[in-house]
């Protein structure tokens, strides 16, 4: 089980003619299951609910995280390992989330890890049949981290529904690598692996598109607040995001700032208990 070779399915992908590509010659994946010891890189799997994150996770780690065709199966983060081209990777499967501005406990798990867990590579699994809606989250994640690979999953289904996606154009627009995959059948996974490895090692340096706020007053306010945040919390990785949340009046973030626990959010893995007294 642990030593499996991902078979390149060269014929089924449009741009797979390059048999000399390192993705094919070196596509030796060793699934390490739960073994995440001594990892070189952490890779996070993020994306909207029900886009196939857990399927990708299982395919790469050999684990059997519960999968199913509905939004909301994964509510905690799962970790597994794999080895590829001599490097060990820790893969973190996050609950699906529609936005980084959301509030439910499962979505907070994803948000906090992306913001403060500082993965080396973030793979955003997007659903090709609902790409426009998925792009909202992609753009939000691009605002907080550079090392992103977008895996456009379910392209077989998109094709069945008559949806055609220009992956090269998308990669150009987003400024990060875009890999079309069919996770359930393992199609495109060798390319995805090789892209992850290149982003992790720095061979590919994505230059993600940052959505302009299109609002001069807002830009000024954010800039001013970021400076203040960095003065109080010099090591905080996501000052820009924290500034936006504070300007938006996010009570839980304000609380974390007040107690000085902002930045520790990822260490407390457990989901906060329900705080509620009977009305």
């Amino acid at each position: 089980m642990s030593d499996e070779l991902v078979t390149p399915q060269a014929s089924s992908l449009p741009h797979a003619a390059c048999n000399t590509c390192p993705a094919y010659t070196n596509a030796q994946l060793r699934k390490l299951g739960l073994d995440v010891s001594g990892w070189d890189y952490t890779v996070a799997l993020a994306g909207n609910p029900n886009t196939g994150k857990s399927t990708v996770f299982n395919a790469l780690t050999g684990l059997r995280q519960h999968t199913g065709n509905w939004a909301g199966k994964t509510v905690t983060r799962a970790e597994g390992g794999f080895r590829f081209q001599g490097k060990r990777y820790k893969l973190v499967d996050l609950p699906g989330t529609y936005s980084l501005l959301s509030t439910s406990a499962d979505e907070e798990v994803a948000r906090d890890f992306l913001l403060f867990g500082q993965p080396h590579v973030t793979v955003i699994v997007a659903d090709a049949t609902r790409l426009e809606r998925n792009l909202n989250l992609v753009l939000q994640i691009l605002a907080i981290t550079d090392s992103v690979v977008v895996a456009v999953n379910l392209i077989d289904e998109a094709r069945r529904h008559g949806i055609m996606i220009d992956e090269r154009g998308l990669a150009r627009d987003l400024g990060v690598p875009v890999v079309p995959i069919v996770a359930r059948r393992g199609e495109g996974l060798p390319e995805l692996l090789s892209t992850i490895a290149q982003v992790a090692s720095g061979a590919i340096r994505p230059r993600p598109r940052h959505v302009p706020l299109r609002d001069a007053a807002l830009e000024r306010a954010v800039k001013q607040l970021v400076a203040q945040i960095e003065a109080v919390f010099p090591n905080l990785p996501q000052a820009y995001w924290v500034a936006l949340r504070l300007l938006d009046g996010d009570a839980s973030i304000a609380q974390a700032v007040r107690e000085g626990t902002i930045g520790d959010l990822t260490r407390g893995q457990a989901v906060a208990p329900i705080a509620l007294e009977a009305a």
Binding site: P49, A71, I163, D173, I229, A231, L247, P273, A279
Partner: protein
């Protein structure tokens, strides 16, 4: 005194926020949405006349229609249970023959040959081995059929459609529509169902979902329902219809569970957990042809065997406890006999008996061991009436029925009330622990534990009283 730097920071943020006006969230979202739309327009082209697209739409209009949604749902549930009951019959008997007959006799013969003391072979073979063997033969065949079928429905994309259908009802009960999803997770395992309530963002509605999750029949309880439905209710129908009637009885209990969920949710949301139902958007994913072989493999290995293993690890010590308590004498009777006799009067009022109540006490760690515990207690407590206990152990369904009716004094009322009590009683130990972990509240953990038990006592009591009054038993 100057305020702490954190407070200064927050004050600055508040001041900036006042200057910016209230619609900041919308402005930021708007910028992102506009950008996403522009990128999508450049890179995605759609041909909506494709056949697959229209087929999905047509199927959705049928399975989520007001008229056909619920009947189709019940029909699918019926089909799943019918396949489970009809299909499990033969392998169950073969497993029982092997484990409770051949292997059991061989173990006893082997123990006698090497001169094992009677108390030791009794404890290990009649206690530990027998309990685990029963768990395997009662649970393995139905679970090996039920899980793959349920997983196929899940893979296909049917669950969100059920959630869509049930949404109106949950909204009417003042609960969150996503509760139907955590409820369906509960049909696999209540502990998993309680964790699944994290998808609900309002604390009020999440508590309602946690408290009511126990009304979803779980892995540990399906076998009890299936066995009772088969032995007592299916048997009243002509043989050709038996498994159909048995399946209908199991589905009925599951549907009573859904109604109880809605009823209790409505009561909670109108009394202690008052508030408006939140709105949410539910994605109906496209139908995906399930990967049959992979589903079979993962649901057999990942679910059936894990559930079975949990049952075995619980059954082994329980078997030892049952054997010891039925063989250690205090005065003229065993410990188990004393307990059963003490519980019998209360059990009678509930249309159950002392053996069943004792079994539910023993089975607090895991509901899976209810049936083996009941069988072992019934057999050992009536040992004097059995010529030789060993002969009776090769239990196929007929013999289980005879044992329960002749030695245990069971009637149709006992079976029906056991099915109801199986639906309505305290959650298992693992689930209680999970509820505590998710709520960190002793009060709500106690409510989630005791409320179902109280309901179970009331419902079985009323059922028994009515049945006796009308003269059914």
């Amino acid at each position: 005194m100057t305020p702490a730097p954190q407070e200064q920071l927050l004050n600055a943020a508040a001041a900036l926020r006042r200057d910016l006006g209230p619609d900041l969230h919308d402005r930021v979202s708007e910028a992102i949405y506009t950008e996403a739309t522009q990128i999508a327009n450049r890179t995605i082209s759609t041909d909506s006349r494709q056949a697959a697209f229209r087929l999905d739409r047509t199927v959705d209009q049928l399975v989520t229609s007001r008229l056909w949604g619920f009947p189709l749902m019940l029909l699918l549930l019926m089909a799943v249970f019918w396949a489970t009951i009809a299909g499990a019959n033969v392998p169950s008997r073969m497993l029982a023959d092997l484990l409770l007959g051949t292997v059991y006799n061989a173990l006893h013969a082997g123990a006698a040959a090497i001169g094992t003391p009677v108390w030791l072979s009794g404890l290990l073979i009649d206690g530990v081995y027998l309990a685990t063997a029963w768990v395997v033969s009662v649970m393995l065949p139905p679970m090996a059929i039920f899980f793959p079928l349920f997983t196929l429905l899940e893979d296909l994309g049917y669950l969100p459609r059920v959630a869509f259908n049930l949404d109106r009802l949950f909204k009417g009960a003042g609960a969150h529509g996503k509760q139907s999803l955590s409820m369906m997770m509960g049909w696999g395992c209540n502990a998993a169902g309680v964790v699944a309530t994290r998808i609900i963002d309002s604390p009020r509605e999440r508590l309602i979902a946690i408290i009511t999750n126990n009304f979803s029949i779980c892995n540990g309880r399906w076998p009890t329902l299936i066995l009772m439905g088969t032995l007592f209710i299916g048997a009243t129908a002509p043989p050709a219809l038996a498994s159909f009637v048995a399946a209908a009885s199991v589905v009925t209990v599951a549907v009573i569970g859904i109604f109880t969920t809605l009823l209790v949710s409505a009561l909670l949301s109108r009394t202690v957990l008052t508030g408006e139902a939140s709105t949410f958007s539910l994605e109906l994913p496209p139908y995906r042809p399930p990967q049959v072989l992979r589903t079979l493999y993962t649901s057999l290995i990942g679910r059936t065997l894990i559930v079975l293993w949990r049952a075995i690890t619980m059954a082994a010590p329980a078997g030892a406890v049952i054997w010891l308590s039925s063989n250690i004498m205090i005065g003229d009777a065993s410990i188990a006999a004393h307990l059963v006799n003490a519980l019998n009067p209360f059990g009678w009022w509930l249309g159950l008996n002392g053996v069943i109540l004792l079994a539910y006490l023993v089975a607090i760690p895991a509901n899976e061991i209810i049936i083996p515990t009941i069988l072992m207690l019934t057999l050992t407590l009536n040992r004097s009436q059995l010529a030789q206990a060993g002969v009776m152990l090769e239990l196929d369904n007929n013999l289980v029925y005879q044992t329960l009716t002749q030695f245990g004094g069971w009637t149709m009322l006992t079976a029906v009330n056991l099915m109801l009590f199986s639906l309505l009683h305290n959650p298992c130990g693992t689930t209680i622990l999970t509820i505590w972990n998710e709520t960190k509240s002793a009060k709500w953990t106690a409510v989630s534990t005791l409320l179902p038990l109280l309901l179970g006592i009331i419902v079985t009591f009323v059922t028994a009283a009515v049945a006796r009054l009308v003269g059914w038993v």
